[in-house]
């Protein structure tokens, strides 16, 4: 397993843990699957960038910064606005992401204090909120494993 997969595993595990986040909420890693019409909320975990730099003279150790984006997808109830619909999960997801257990090889995990949001109006009001986490980690030699 690469260090990259171990990182998104750890992030997804923190979100899947009990108690479940949101009624009918599904946490999917490495998917672009749309939020199904039967679901009120959902979470998506995706690594979007890995930037590496050599950190020693021999070029044996590579330090990576992996950017993981967690998307919160919400469908509002009739007569509910997007902000009210997303609010209960917003703080829960934030807290869960602060508590991710770093996998082997990770030297730093920083949850960026930026949440980007967007809204659309359809048969119901829908919204997304994106969290991003920067993870610094090391790999050795030609392997991408930690």
């Amino acid at each position: 397993m690469t260090a990259f997969l171990a990182i998104t595993d750890a992030v997804a595990a923190a979100l899947v843990g009990s108690p479940a986040l949101g009624r009918h909420g599904k946490v999917l890693r490495g998917r672009r699957t749309p939020l199904a019409q039967a679901d009120q909320v959902g979470l998506r975990v995706n690594a979007v960038r890995h930037t590496g730099t050599g950190v020693d003279i021999d070029g044996v150790t590579t330090q990576w910064e992996t950017l993981v984006v967690v998307g919160l997808l919400v469908r509002a109830l009739p007569d509910q606005d997007a902000e009210a619909a997303a609010d209960p999960l917003l703080s829960d997801v934030w807290a869960r992401l602060q508590a991710v257990v770093p996998p082997v090889g990770v030297t730093q995990m920083v949850l960026d204090p930026v949440i980007t949001r967007d809204i659309d109006e359809a048969d119901q009001t829908v919204a997304v909120a994106n969290f991003s986490m920067r993870v610094v980690h090391l790999t050795q030699g030609a392997a991408l494993a930690a």
Partner: protein, 99 residues
Amino acid sequence: MPMVEDLSLFFNADELAHQAVLDNVVVAGIFDNGYELALGAIGVQRPTFTLPTAACSNIEPGTSHLRIPGVGSYSVQEVEPDGTGVSTLRLQLLQVEAA
């Protein structure tokens, strides 16, 4: 003499149109409710009701209601006149109705 088009031909409830109740007034129009992907990530329906502009001149977006028997009740979010005497109402679902 300006041409006056008979729009009732396009909104015939015996053919493609639905009969509906718009703020307690019976109207005929064409209902669409296609699937779309919202925000690149959320599966939604985009309900619209297209009808003669003259039939929806008193609508108040956010307040007006449209009920399509056997389909559901909707609030009217926006009125989009096309400039030729036909308007499209953008709808938001309030309640599904059994067919």
